[in-house]
């Protein structure tokens, strides 16, 4: 028994050493960001250059925009990088956020099955497309997770004039309460429509019978903003390191890195620090 215990403790010690070796880094900051920037692979692609230049390790916690802002509001992140202008306004108005800068934009697309039962393919009007989907009662996967994409989807339904829900008898409206990737997997699985940011859509590897059907509506613009925290409200946050990341993202080097990120030859994000959309 003692031998087993000793061996167990030795294993534990080794494991503990491994864990602490992993966590041994100079300075680190926590960036609360969105699933789209993680699932599209952008942050993993550009952040090593920042770390190499500054020695600051960036720990990305990828959540929906709503959750990311809540995480920062509780003081558990040092800065945020999100994409829901209305939620950001509220975050800043409540005194949590300081300086906000746009780093890039792309757009949202409405994707759906190639068979396109609601006949929305080729359109450039998101509200009209949503109206057709509702009229046809064609399956639609909703995020329902208070993310930036979820917020835009709800705004589009408001413009249609109705918020579908299972409770009001809309069996075709599937609120999955998950991230963008989960929503695309669900849509691919049941041949449903959904609203996706272009970055996640282009890099998504399980498209199955899904296809981008509606794009090019100015109302589908998708802006990514980096927001620093207010030093008075969040005195413990690592403001200096956070500012260096924010500065780098809008710098020539950071903007070039964002613009250079491609998937299958397509640029996913358009750098826009110099000329915010």
């Amino acid at each position: 028994m003692m031998k087993v215990t000793r061996r167990l403790l030795a294993c534990l010690f080794a494991a503990g050493m491994t864990t602490s070796a992993i966590s041994a880094a100079a300075e680190s900051i926590v960036l609360a960001s969105t699933t789209s920037l993680q699932d599209s692979g952008l942050l993993a692609n550009i952040l090593p250059a920042f770390t190499a230049a500054t020695g600051i390790e960036v720990r990305v916690v990828a959540q929906g925009t709503g959750q990311a802002l809540a995480t920062a509001a509780r003081g558990d992140a040092d800065l945020v990088l999100v994409h829901d202008p209305e939620a950001e306004d509220k975050f800043i108005a409540e005194g949590h956020g300081g300086e906000r800068r746009q780093i890039a934009w792309n757009d949202f697309v409405i994707v759906g099955p190639v068979s396109d039962p609601a006949k929305i393919g080729g359109g450039h009007d998101a509200v009209a497309a949503f109206g057709l989907i509702a009229k046809a009662g064609a399956p639609f996967v909703a995020r329902g997770d208070k993310s930036g994409t979820d917020a835009l989807e709800k705004r589009l339904w408001r413009k249609v004039g109705r918020q579908p829900s299972l409770a009001s008898g809309d069996g075709w409206y599937k609120d999955i309460g998950g991230g963008m990737g989960a929503a695309l997997n669900a849509a691919a699985g049941i041949g449903a429509y959904t609203l996706s940011d272009r970055g996640t859509w282009l890099s998504f590897a399980n498209k199955a019978e899904l296809k981008a059907l509606v794009e090019g509506d100015p109302g589908l613009l998708n802006r990514y903003d980096v927001i620093l925290l207010d030093p008075k409200k969040h005195p413990i946050a690592k403001h200096d390191a956070a500012r260096r990341l924010s500065d780098w993202l809008v710098s020539t080097a950071g903007q070039a890195a964002i613009g250079a990120y491609t998937k299958q030859g397509q640029q996913l994000f358009n750098p826009s620090a110099a000329a915010p959309k």
Binding site: M1, R7, L12, A15, T18, I22, D39, D76, G181
Partner: protein, 222 residues
């Protein structure tokens, strides 16, 4: 498949496996340190509140990981009561979460094994003049294999768990990303084949850990 070999061959993947094992083995070790004396005491000693405690520990076998994650998240948040520890989004926080999940399993299984042994040999041990407290080490030595099973059950809970560590650890690349959270992430990227391959690697690691533990225990019998 190319994706799979590129991933498995990368330093990032080695870190993920090391962190998974490090966190889960640490949590299992802590769960054994807490659960072993607790389970044995419940079987051997007689004290007030023993029966309710047994019921509570058995009920905690079904503790939902995501709830443990959420409660710990609120406690460890910088604006929470334990925020000063700075454990949120760290491997330490993940070890805490998994220890909470594994301890009842170890305690309940050790209690069950010790209970049987106590029924069979308790009388003899007491006749030999040992006190109940002194009888515990003898019983633990006799129940070595069931105890190992208890530890492995605790390890199984921790290495396969995703709900609690996703919330408390944050799935940070290169820092708190484990096998299970990486599998969840690859699934959400639509890389289903890669996610499945990683899942098979995870199962292989579980088998290897279990085999090693049994080899150590039976080697000890010589």
């Amino acid at each position: 498949m190319t994706d799979f070999w590129t991933t498995v061959g990368s330093g990032e993947f080695v870190r993920i496996v090391a962190l998974s094992l490090g966190v889960s083995l640490s949590a299992t070790g802590l769960a054994v340190l807490l659960g072993l004396p607790l389970g044995a005491s419940l079987a051997v000693l007689r004290f007030a509140g023993r029966r309710p405690l047994i019921i509570v520990i058995n009920a905690l076998l079904g503790l939902p990981p995501v709830v443990v994650g959420l409660v710990l998240y609120l406690l460890l948040s910088r604006s929470g009561p334990l925020g000063e520890l700075g454990l949120l989004f760290t491997p330490g926080g993940m070890v805490a979460a998994q220890t909470i999940l594994a301890t009842p399993i170890v305690a309940a299984l050790v209690h069950r094994a010790m209970n049987g042994l106590w029924t069979d040999y308790g009388g003899a041990l007491l006749v030999d003049g040992a006190t109940r407290l002194r009888a515990i080490p003898t019983l633990l030595a006799m129940g070595r294999l069931p105890i190992l099973t208890a530890a492995l059950a605790g390890f199984g809970r921790t290495i396969s768990e995703v709900g609690a560590i996703l919330v408390v650890g944050g799935n940070i690349a290169g820092y708190t990303r484990t096998m299970t959270t990486a599998i969840a992430l690859e699934t959400s990227k639509g890389n289903l084949g890669l996610a499945l391959s990683l899942g098979l690697v995870l199962i292989g690691i579980s088998v290897a850990v279990s085999a090693t533990a049994f080899a150590l225990a039976s080697g000890d019998r010589r």
